[in-house]
Symmetry: D2
Subunit: 132 residues, 4 copies
């Protein structure tokens, strides 16, 4: 249940005009930007900085993305992304991410993003994220 999730795992956003396309709605690709930012904030809240681990040569890479686009968003819309994780294997985990409108909690988009570490050095990171 969403209500059981930690509220600190919500990241709040507001749609900026430059993120909308000729249809006047948030472009499909922009949701992947939002989701990435929410994942990196999630990791940061567990003490891991994405830019830092990248500089250390530990690469977390997306290997599969599944996005269900349920509603469109327009200029100025306020929303939040709730993220949680589940382990898939030693080096692999899923981020389950949901985009909701801030004012009425309506579901905008639901995503399952599978991330892996490309080297064994990533295992402690995956362990740490799943345990926390």
């Amino acid at each position: 249940m969403q209500d059981n999730l930690n509220q600190k795992d919500r990241v709040y956003f507001e749609v900026r005009d430059y993120e909308c396309d000729i249809q006047g709605i948030v472009n499909n690709a922009v949701y992947q930007n939002y989701l990435e930012h929410a994942r990196h904030q999630f990791i940061k809240s567990r003490g891991l900085d994405f830019a830092e681990i990248t500089a250390q040569g530990i690469y977390l890479v997306l290997i599969k993305a599944e996005l269900d686009y349920i509603q469109s968003m327009h200029s100025g819309d306020a929303f939040y992304i709730q993220s949680s994780i589940e382990r898939v294997s030693k080096l692999k985990l899923n981020f389950l991410q949901k985009v909701h409108r801030t004012d009425n909690d309506q579901l905008i988009l639901s995503a399952k993003m599978t991330v892996t570490s490309t080297t064994k050095e990533g295992k402690p990171i995956v362990d740490h994220l799943v345990a926390s």
Copy 2:
């Protein structure tokens, strides 16, 4: 088989530096830009201009995206996207899209993008695309 697909349904690209992120590789979200451009070129080759049909009030919207990220790409890499379609229902169709390196045809990314028309006015467009 890829070889049975029409070569004209290939759109050629080259990675630009601003499309790469702090990992030095093409950012995940940018692939959705590439794929959208390839879909719109596909539609255009069937006589439909995305900006024009949008201006007419006929909206084709993405409702589901599934992307398998197989390899990374770096600055300057040349690649092409091959697209084909399959009908799912009256108003819905799948774009099957594959990103390949130009020099050795290696598979970079494979995607199934489900698109629908939000109004009945879109049905002739879906019919036209599937028939052509």
Copy 3:
């Protein structure tokens, strides 16, 4: 003096990882996104919604941009943009925009962005913005 400017004309941001490029710093083009968002928030605080006036056929367009890049920003950096305006002519105005770090107020970027309305219908909007 910056201190004389209205604090409500500050828009606060935080650098997101996808806005950084292979140099590990915010890409030059991204500052124009930030500045546009700050201008649209400025206009909104004066009762004008950019998406709405665009839908009404009143186009405010950028005709000249001058940006001085003074410092770089990295992943996670917090900053704010302070905007003010000055009239240039009947249909034209300058946005004077400064990007500062939130923690120490250091200047990151300074910009003068000249905006005009392409039709006479834009004159009341320019009048309203300058007067308010």
Copy 4:
């Protein structure tokens, strides 16, 4: 005269739909993407790869951008960017860049982009670019 410039310093583009905003025209910030790509292609044609020199720790950074937006571009428009350089000082040079429509050579945007190397190690690069 533009005609005296080397034709090989032209980089050709076509507007992609995702580069257009709610006004239906190419977003202002996107021109900086185009211009950066044209500069990096210019450098590459002189034997310097931007990603490679960055990896070597030699940073070429933009310190000033002046852009005159003369015409708008829409979905599908074909254009080219012509670049030339002039030395400003030991470590600093200007890129003079013009965006023209491909079909009728109309001027879309004119820019002067001042680039510097942040370390002395960049001097041979600036020398090489100006000499070539």
